[in-house]
């Protein structure tokens, strides 16, 4: 929307966005098509598309004359008719693509710059024609939110939608998702989907699908290949394995983290190898880590009882232990400590976390220790602070990622509030979230 001032004049002159107009300012004449005002920039500048395609902003002030020449475009918000299912070949297996936000297919209106997201099976296939050779497609958008707006309740919604699709008999499933919190959702689904019989791939894009260089195309194509042709019945992320368009990596949902803000290969496995490498061009799927759940004929169940009052506390120099009081007052039921190094917290003077942790655990609220190092395992005894923490009854979460531990503690607390059971469940491996051994090759960021 333009400024009130401009909107008023436009109304008086019966000029609409999309009209060809003549504008005279300081005796200079401009002609072009009036564009919608984008939200960024000066609302008091008229945006005009010149005949050479460029947009310019002309400041609107007293003395500026506007005149409508003719209506050039009828611009309206387009609603694409969604086509939910598309069958190419009855012999091919069928997969479901569930949308939670972002787009696989987009159309650009080069006139306005508007990007029209589409989630119809037809548009997805138009954008990624090779899907025709892999599977028949069912497409369904169940929500449309940015991944930073994802919530634990929405994980449950996704889990239920997945189960519904699996029960309809598809061979594999793809969930498209914004990338920022994709690894939290991946962990949540890993715990909530019990007895998973088929592959479930979470796919995002680091370059949006309205550009020709988008990573969506390869990511979705590889994910489709993976969920149809692999025997990995796990929740995995499937995204670029390098900054080239050559292969994707399938990484276990509980062992994956976004570790780059913008690169295509932002997602890396932590403390284990990727489960598989999926070549894009020759479509070869190479298993890199044999430790995975095989495709099976079990009946999937949703186990989505969760306790959402769990907080992550990061340890840093100067942290004041009082911060925990806030959460206790708000009746939080569990804490993940993103400790330093092997799992240490401050133990000296007024910054010591020990008294508060002791109080918290005694009140029956679990404290789980993970490391902000990201890679590696925490240890309960090596240093004195670790031993002090151990004495106070905290739970050391092995080589679990803090994000995964956070999601898991919610899920565990959804099942029990008894400290000994919480501890036992936190240390039980439900979805590949911990490994007893970490091999040398499992730390290779560069």
């Amino acid at each position: 929307m333009y400024s009130k001032n401009i909107e008023k004049v436009l109304k008086e002159k019966r000029i609409r966005v999309g009209d060809r107009i003549k504008l005279v300012k300081n005796k200079k004449t401009f002609e072009g098509i009036l564009m919608p005002r984008i939200e960024m920039g000066d609302l008091n500048c008229l945006i005009i598309k010149l005949d050479n395609g460029y947009n310019i902003g002309i400041g609107f002030e007293r003395g500026v004359e506007l005149e409508k020449i003719r209506t050039e475009w009828q611009i309206s918000g387009k609603k694409v008719k969604e086509v939910e299912s598309i069958t190419f070949d009855k012999k091919l297996p069928t997969i479901s693509i569930i949308g939670t936000g972002g787009t696989i297919a987009s159309k650009i209106d080069y006139r306005t710059g508007g990007v029209y997201a589409s989630f119809s099976a037809k548009d997805i296939v138009t954008q990624i024609p090779e899907l025709k050779e892999i599977a028949n497609i069912r497409a369904k958008q169940i929500m449309n939110i940015l991944s930073e707006d994802m919530t634990p309740d929405r994980w449950r919604e996704i889990a239920r939608a997945v189960v519904k699709e699996i029960n309809s008999g598809v061979s594999g499933l793809i969930i498209t998702h914004g990338t920022d919190t994709l690894h939290y959702t991946a962990a949540a689904l890993s715990f909530m989907l019990r007895d998973l019989p088929i592959p479930v791939a979470l796919v995002g894009a680091q370059r949006s699908s309205d550009r020709g260089s988008s990573d969506t195309v390869m990511n979705v194509a590889c994910a489709a290949n993976f969920v149809v042709n692999s025997d990995v019945a796990e929740v995995c992320t499937v995204m670029h394995g390098s900054i080239e368009d050559n292969y994707c990596l399938a990484i276990r949902g509980t062992k994956v983290r976004k570790i780059h803000t913008s690169r295509r290969d932002a997602f890396k496995p932590v403390n284990e190898l990727p489960i598989a490498r999926i070549n894009w061009i020759d479509k070869k799927i190479e298993i890199m880590n044999e430790n995975y759940r095989k495709r099976n004929s079990k009946k999937v169940k949703v186990d989505d009882k969760i306790e959402t009052k769990v907080a992550i506390i990061k340890c840093y120099p100067g942290l004041e232990p009082e911060i925990l009081d806030y959460y206790l007052k708000k009746k939080y039921k569990g804490f993940i400590i993103e400790a330093t190094g092997l799992g240490n917290t401050p133990t000296l003077g007024k910054h010591s976390l020990l008294p508060k942790i002791e109080k918290v655990v005694k009140s029956g609220v679990p404290v789980v220790i993970t490391s902000q190092c990201i890679y590696g395992r925490v240890h309960p005894f090596v240093y004195r602070p670790l031993r002090e923490l151990t004495k106070r009854g905290v739970i050391f979460a092995e080589d679990m990622l803090p994000e995964t531990a956070y999601v898991k503690l919610m899920w565990v607390l959804g099942h029990t509030k008894k400290m000994n059971q919480i501890k036992e469940m936190m240390l039980t491996n439900y979805a590949g979230e911990t490994n007893k051994r970490i091999e040398t090759g499992e730390f290779s960021i560069w």
């Binding site: 200079k28 401009f30 984008i38 960024m40 920039g41 000066d42 500048c45 945006i47 010149l50 050479n52 395609g53 460029y54 947009n55 310019i56 902003g57 002309i58 400041g59 387009k78 297919a105 987009s106 159309k107 650009i108 209106d109 080069y110 006139r111 306005t112 710059g113 029209y116 548009d123 138009t126 954008q127 024609p129 370059r207 699908s209 309205d210 550009r211 020709g212 260089s213 988008s214 195309v217 390869m218 900054i243 080239e244 368009d245 050559n246 803000t261 913008s262 690169r263 295509r264």
Partner: protein, 488 residues
């Protein structure tokens, strides 16, 4: 072919688009160097591009898909000259303000109107020359003009844009590009239709436009830093666009040949052709669909404040016709030399060197307008690889008496062939370390001793052959004469 065409009769109409790279300290949207000095890529990235659906319909997508399906793009990455931004792995940073200021200067020099708000646009390109599949470009000025032979030539727009990646090779559907050129700032000057001029005059108009850009002192020089597109139409024909004329001197020939080509055809198709080094052109695949521009959304449009424009107006560079007069009067260059250096790629460097050193400006100018050309012609070496610092060092050594001007061609030739060797080392290596009068006197005496009875001129000749380039020739003559007289 002898050209006897009357261009008015055939109603020759041309439009020019002139591109010039800007010599900014970093690229248009990131901190990478614009120097393109790295020789070997540090890595190569393989990518594909995908069709993007537009409201223009699916036929268009299908065409794009067919065009792109079997094409692989390889992008060479260079140390210091590429970062994640050009690799399409990081969003663009804020616009380079230095480039914006230069572009605004250019727009004002062309008497353009400056929009109050600048909108960065994405222009779709699917030939792979941009990793993002679009080129970012923005109109900085419009509705300007220049004067040529007393008449106005319309300047439709001045745009600031990012340069495309440089093509390395294309074979079997695999296209390789160098990413170091990608996103070097570029100004594009588009003229209105130029009607009533000969190809020769149109070339001069292009030249004038180039000179105006040059007067900012901030445009790059050398092969590849300038590109001209020209569209040509004649009576009753369609407009044919010819892209990428790299040498200005070729422009009139390109136009003449295109006119002849069009005259030889029964019907002229509207098409895009690429300019070849010999002045002929070849057909290139036109992109389907209309001009595809849509707004850049990674960074917002920005306002151009009036006070900012006023500041730039106050500091506009000296117009080139005034510069010519100044070169003659203040720097005492001959008219020819002044004109040549003004047209030279080394103009900016010449000006900075004349400010820095007390050397006779004609000596400096001659190095750029004749010595380099002679070397190129005689030895066929890449003199364009010499960088500004090489010349600075050269004239510093000349000013401090470490070398004599006669030795400049040999030193530069050696430097081109051995860029890694420092100038001071070169002087020692090829015996060009200037010699003292005492040493010269000794050489003269030796020569006299060994060539008893020879005439003076012969002795001067022998000594000169021994010391050429190491000491001024006048001094050689003087000392030989003196010593000669002592003996005889």
């Amino acid at each position: 072919m002898v050209n006897v065409l009357n261009y008015e009769d055939i109603n020759l109409k041309c439009g020019l688009e002139i591109h010039r790279q800007l010599n900014t300290s970093h690229k248009l949207f990131c901190g990478c160097s614009t120097n393109m000095i790295e020789k070997k890529p540090i890595t190569e990235i393989k990518r594909k591009l995908h069709p993007v659906a537009s409201e223009l319909g699916e036929v268009d997508v299908a065409a794009q898909y067919e065009f792109l399906r079997n094409r692989q793009f390889n992008y060479q990455v260079f140390h210091g000259e590429n970062c994640l931004v050009e690799c399409d792995e990081e969003p663009i940073h804020l616009l380079n303000q230095e480039a914006l200021e230069i572009a605004l200067q250019v727009a004002l020099l062309f008497n353009c109107i400056i929009p109050e708000e600048i909108h960065i646009m994405r222009k779709t390109v699917i030939d792979g020359s941009n990793t993002s599949a679009f080129q970012r470009t923005m109109v900085i000025g419009l509705n300007g003009f220049i004067e040529y032979k007393g008449k106005k030539i319309e300047i439709l727009h001045v745009s600031l844009e990012e340069d495309a990646a440089g093509l390395v090779e294309e074979k079997n559907g695999s296209v390789t590009y160098r990413l170091n050129r990608l996103s070097i700032p570029l100004v594009e000057i588009g003229t209105g239709l130029i009607v009533g001029y000969s190809p020769e005059e149109i070339q001069n108009i292009a030249y004038t436009i180039g000179m105006i850009c040059r007067s900012t002192g901030k445009v790059k020089r050398g092969i590849g830093t300038i590109r001209q597109d020209v569209n040509v139409s004649i009576k009753g024909g369609q407009r044919v666009e010819i892209k990428g004329v790299q040498e200005l001197g070729l422009l009139s020939k390109v136009i003449e040949l295109e006119v002849q080509r069009q005259l030889s055809l029964p019907r002229v198709e509207k098409e895009t052709r690429a300019a070849l080094p010999d002045g002929t052109t070849k057909f290139t695949r036109p992109l389907p669909g209309a001009a595809r521009m849509y707004p850049e959304t990674d960074i917002p449009p920005f306002k151009i404040e009036k006070t900012f424009i006023q500041k730039i107006k106050k500091n506009l560079p000296e117009p080139w016709d005034k510069k010519l007069i100044r070169f003659k009067e203040e720097l005492k260059l001959s008219y020819d030399l002044a004109n040549q250096i003004l047209r030279s790629d080394y103009l900016d460097l010449f000006e900075s060197l004349t400010k820095k050193f007390k050397i006779n400006p004609s000596v400096i100018a001659n190095v750029f307008v004749s010595t380099l050309k002679d070397l190129k012609k005689r030895e066929n070496i890449s003199v364009e690889n010499l960088i500004d610092e090489d010349f600075e060092k050269l004239f510093e050594l000349l000013e401090t008496g470490k070398l004599v001007k006669e030795s400049i061609p040999d030193i530069l030739s050696y430097k081109v062939k051995n860029p890694e060797i420092a100038m001071t080392e070169i002087i020692k290596k090829i015996g060009l370390e200037a010699i003292s009068k005492e040493e010269l006197t000794k050489i003269v005496n030796d020569t006299l001793e060994k060539n008893k009875g020879q005439p003076l001129n012969k002795i001067i000749g022998i000594v000169m052959s021994k010391v050429r380039g190491r000491i001024k020739s006048e001094e050689v003559a003087e000392i030989v004469k003196k010593e000669f007289e002592k003996v005889y």
